[in-house]
Symmetry: C2
């Protein structure tokens, strides 16, 4: 029987940093990472395989990362965990004992129970090289694609598939607007305009009633009565925690169906931790169950789990939800609660916006528009969320906003926080959007009093 101090099951955005953090915090401990995939896709890169990147082989996480950190790798499938004996068993017949086990099992794309969903050329987006290659081959032949779900995966896939192909793309969404769970409506509308300008059709407030065809998909029947022609369908409606192994081992699940964990990422079983998409989550804002699943959350949780394996060192404050993407030439980013979400949660909100070029003066080469919207709790002044659209600098600006949220900064704190500004990199200090959006929220809050 093999013996390791730490065994991590899963080799993606949670498993790798969990193993790395274990090695960094406990350099004397041996760490084994077990994963079933021969090659691991960069999960957020998957949409880009269909356009900008071009192939699965260019979107792989290199194993060198593990070797450099002194992590052993076993490519095999774990089929059983014995929490009492602290032993895992693999499909390949290995028995491996552990002191601490980390479950980084990820999630599986949700396949809705809609008539005809099991037909050929209907794809959920599985993080699997062979599966994605098959999708790629099908899409290269397809002429009419329907994407179900207008969240991040849906819009990113639509754009990238469109990039090199003559293919009609329609996205069907149950909610009124695209990306509605992440952005306020004015940002969603802007995103839709970008997609529509590229010839991508978006049908909001529509449900799929059935997939038509004879073993191979031919059409998509909608709640409005409309039937869309389709020789390929992609389901982008979310993912569910992969918990089969945990359930078999007797671990408790949480209210959203993830593996139950505490703030230290400990499961209900002694010595077993979980992190990433497979683990239950709570909101940073109200501690209630959250269904958010993001690679960046997985990595954060892995860094908590890995550090806590042999001593309580870090605690998970709950998920904020920080997103960014590019549609056309416009970046869209968001962190925390939208105005709509905050109002629905019964906050009395204070909102501020600032918009202008991300260079100064505006004639500097490369100047693009950048808009920031911030949402605060009017009772305390504490920031609840932010949304950004425009220039590519949104990608890091949203992380400045995330730091503000993480630290529960007030509008006043943000209004006088010290920024670095430069003609070729940002707005002027007078017009700097993040600070000015906070100032406008304060001014708007005063007017409302």
């Amino acid at each position: 029987m093999l013996k390791f101090d730490v065994v991590v099951i899963g080799g993606s955005a949670a498993g790798i940093p969990a193993a790395q953090t274990a090695r960094r915090h406990y350099p004397d401990k041996s760490v084994l990472l077990i994963r079933k995939e021969a090659q691991v896709l960069i999960p957020c890169g998957i949409p880009y395989i269909f356009g900008s990147i071009g192939s699965c082989q260019a979107d792989l996480i290199p194993d060198a990362t593990l070797q450099k950190s002194g992590i052993e790798l076993l490519v095999d499938e774990v089929v059983g965990i014995d929490p009492a004996q602290r032993v895992v068993t693999t499909a390949g017949g290995e028995q491996i004992s552990y002191e601490r086990l980390v479950l980084a099992l990820g999630s599986l794309p949700i396949v809705p129970r809609i008539p005809g969903v099991a037909q050929e050329n209907i794809f959920a987006v599985r993080k699997d090289v062979r599966y994605i290659e098959q999708m790629l081959a099908t899409l290269n032949q397809a002429s009419d694609l329907v994407i179900v779900g207008c969240g991040f995966i849906g819009v990113e896939l639509a754009e990238e598939i469109r990039r090199n192909r003559q293919i009609k793309i329609t996205i069907v969404e149950m909610l009124r607007h695209c990306l509605e769970l992440t952005y306020d409506v004015e940002f969603s509308v802007k995103a839709e305009e970008v997609l529509q300008a590229e010839g991508i059709e978006i049908l909001g407030s529509e449900k799929v009633l059935a997939f038509e065809g004879n073993g191979k998909v031919e059409g998509v029947r909608l709640s409005s009565g409309r039937v869309l022609k389709a020789d390929a369908v992609i389901l982008g409606i979310g993912a569910a925690a992969n918990t089969e192994l945990a359930v078999k081992a007797g671990l408790q699940l949480g209210p959203t169906g993830g593996i139950q964990v505490d703030r230290y990422m400990q499961t209900s079983a002694e010595g077993i931790f979980a992190c990433g998409d497979c683990a239950e989550k709570v909101s940073f804002f109200d501690g209630r169950p959250s269904r958010l699943k993001l690679a960046s959350i997985a990595t954060m949780e892995a860094r908590v789990a890995g550090a806590n394996l042999f001593a309580p060192r870090r605690s998970n404050l709950g998920v904020i939800g920080v997103y960014s993407t590019i549609l056309g030439k416009t970046a869209f980013a968001a962190a925390g609660l939208t105005e709509k979400m905050a109002r629905e949660a019964n906050y009395h909100v204070m909102v501020g916006e600032a918009e202008g070029p991300n260079r100064h003066p505006g004639c500097m080469p490369g100047a693009e528009n950048l808009k920031v919207k911030l949402v605060f709790d009017a009772a305390t002044g504490v920031i609840l969320g932010g949304q950004v659209s425009g220039a590519m600098s949104a990608g890091e600006l949203i992380n400045a906003i995330s730091a503000c949220i993480h630290q529960r900064m007030t509008a006043d704190d943000i209004a006088i926080f010290q920024t670095g500004t430069h003609p070729g990199l940002t707005a002027s200090p007078i017009a700097y959007q993040l600070v000015n959006a906070a100032e406008m929220a304060i001014a708007n809050g005063r007017k409302a009093q």
Copy 2:
């Protein structure tokens, strides 16, 4: 006699936001801004007038900003303040009474007492349209330019002047390396390599002994004995607070020669506030006098002063110092203390670095290298500073680091702070430089124990 509730003297990076903040916080108060310049240059844009922007007229702060905020403008020079009567007098003969006065008088470039410094074609960089136009005309004719001082103004001017001109440029610096007051040596060396590759010569550890010539500069004699040919010289060795008016009015000055202010930006005279380059500053880190002068600091202080005019609402935590620039195609940014500065201040430091592409996978279009170095106080884990070089996203990333410093986040806080990551905008969540630099600092700290 004119009467205003609030009078602001100065119309640049401190004066404008001071007036705006006054209007936002006290919408019933009348605000007058007095400045002597007919047109106001965007201060950080000045180097770019010589290259990317091309003219002073393209680098102006529009007066529309004032009108939109309901701020009255008077172009005139204030020549006297009577703090007892609360009246200011202008060169144009106006007498204006105020309830609150804000001094946003800026700074003047330092002209060192070196023999021959008063000759023609030797320029300090004054924020004045006519002066800059004269500089521009001279440089368009010059063949040998010597820049004294290899700080931000020196390196930015060198690059921009070089952009459209056949001109030999030599920068002379007393310190060993360029930008040495802002960056650790490895970043300075990288910056020097960029400049040298563009044909700009940098002479470190050199003092200017004299400027040679007969009324018009012809050469620069250095401490090493070398004499540089020069038909134009730019002095970029810093600026001194403009305090003449304040001194005449009997206001106290601070230890570095700025107008003495408290944390609320109040001067020694009742009802008079000061902010920006003219005001005395203290360090965020140790409360000691600081000579930092930056437009972004001026703006922050203006937002403190403006909010406090009729009630104590905000306090100034002291200057962090957040910088960014572009040299060649590389961005350089810094916030807070460098490793060297922290060691000199007797911190026991903990340092971490992370470097890698700012896209994931690295083959994504537009991928560039991005390096982050973070410096922590090992005793408390609190962040003291950060430096970034590489991709343009450094411009906003440094502001995320500034938020971390402002909130005194620990390495552990940063290691598990939630980031938004995207293939086209940032590193992967596993490789995200800001978080990984914090992780490495913790690991390095552990090894040192």
